[in-house]
Each structure stands twice: as structure tokens, then as C-alpha cells.
Amino acid sequence: MHSIFSRLNNGSSLLSSCLMGLLLAVTLSTFVFTAEPQGNLTIGSIRVLEGRNPRRYNQKQEVGVVRFNVTADLTPLFHWNTKQIFLYLQAEYNTTEGVQNDVVIWDRIVRRKEDASINVVAKDKYHLRDVSRTFRGVPHAQYALKYNIMPYVGVLTYGEVARTSEAVVFPKLGEL
């Protein structure tokens, strides 16, 4: 401590230890904040149209367009360590061949508590496609609204807000 240099040295190493401790405390405090957000999800309509396979340009592929209605209150998820919430709507289905698929069709980034009341009536951002290029082998699908809390520092957490109560059938190509 005899010179400015040694005071700076000792001070900065103590400071960095304190900051590490602080970040750890913030991370641990996050586990205290557990909240169950409420929400509702309904599927409006699904149309199966003819489209193109993005992986083989010449191939045709059936594309599913989903219209949905989502209401959710995410405000209880916002605490001091919440940086943003990534909200996503996914379709979950099994094909007759036994392949289990989870496909995200819509997502939104929520950055502030003020924006955390969700009320969306919209069309999907990402259309549904199946690996078999048709929905004939897919009887129906469940839909779930999930979230991912991204903290300022610490552990990422995941959860589910809402889910369709019964599976939604896929119409035939071109039909409503």
C-alpha cells in the first residue's frame, strides 16, 4: 500500500472479487422469483397450400398456414434480473411413421414489463412444413405457447404459458 500503484493493484483485485460475489448473489436471487404466468391459446384456422421445398428447389411441398389467437400475461416473469423474454408458439405432432416433430411457427421478443401483456391475433411467421413434404401422414397437432427468460446475469429458464386443450386436425390440401 506504500505506492499509488500498489493501492490501485490491491484495490482493483478486491473490487473484482466483490463484483464476482455480487454477480453470484444476483444469480442466486433469481431462483427466489418463481411465477406462473397465465395465458390462453386458440387456433383459428389451418390451411394446407402448395409450396416449394426450400431444400430442393424443384420439389413441391405442402405448406401449412396457421391462424391463431394468443392472450398472455407475462408481467409476473419480470424481475430485476430479467433482460428479455423470448416467447414462442410451437406445433407438436407425430406422423404415422412415428416421427415426433416440434416446430416453432411464431415468436416474439418481449423486452419490457409494459409490453408483457400479450394479445395477438395473427398468422404464423414460419409456415409449417413436414419432412415427408405432405401433411397426409399427419393426423393432428397440439400447439403450445412457451417462453425463455434471458437474465442479465445467470441461468436461463424455460416454461410454458398455455397449450391447446385438444389436438387440431389438419385439413386436406386446398380445403378450409
Binding site: R7, G11, L14, L15
Partner: protein
């Protein structure tokens, strides 16, 4: 001239001053870390926590980095020089 700048940059303080600086550093840093955490947690604002820390660090830096005269008020009392044996 070079000696003067050297001494200015070195910022030497006496032993009592060093003890004081060390105590100050430990207490203030640890106390402000705890205070910053509690304030932020209570008011749910992370920026408040780091703002508090930043302010405390700034004030502490001004208090302990420069060699204030308060840290030089107990200079070392050297014993009088004893006669050199065997020298003229």
C-alpha cells in the same frame, strides 16, 4: 526534476496511513457491495445496484489513491545515526 515527478507518481504514505487505507478499502468495498445488492433487490433495479457500486468506487478511489497529507501524519522516526566502527 525527474526525482520530483517520480515521487509524485509513487505517492508514498507512511505505515499508519497504509493501515488506515487498507481498513478503509476493505470496509467500504464490502459494505457497498452488500448495500448495492440489498438496494437493488428491494427496488428491483439492477441499474441501481451497479450505480451504487460505481458511485462508491469513485468516492473510495478519490479517498485512497492520492497520497493525502492525512496519510503522512505519522512519519517514521529514525533513530540517531550511531558512530561507524573502524571508519575515519
Amino acid at each position: 526534476m525527474a526525482d520530483y515527478i517520480n515521487e509524485l507518481l509513487e505517492g508514498r504514505i507512511d505505515f499508519e496511513g497504509q493501515k488506515l487505507v487498507e481498513k478503509l478499502m476493505y470496509y467500504v468495498l464490502i459494505a457497498s457491495t452488500i448495500a448495492a445488492f440489498i438496494t437493488g433487490l428491494a427496488l428491483q433495479s439492477l441499474s441501481l445496484t451497479f450505480g451504487t457500486m460505481g458511485l462508491s468506487v469513485a468516492v473510495l478511489a478519490v479517498a485512497i489513491i492520492p497520497p493525502w497529507p492525512a496519510y503522512r501524519s505519522h512519519p517514521i522516526k529514525w533513530l540517531p545515526a550511531s558512530p561507524q566502527p573502524g571508519k575515519k
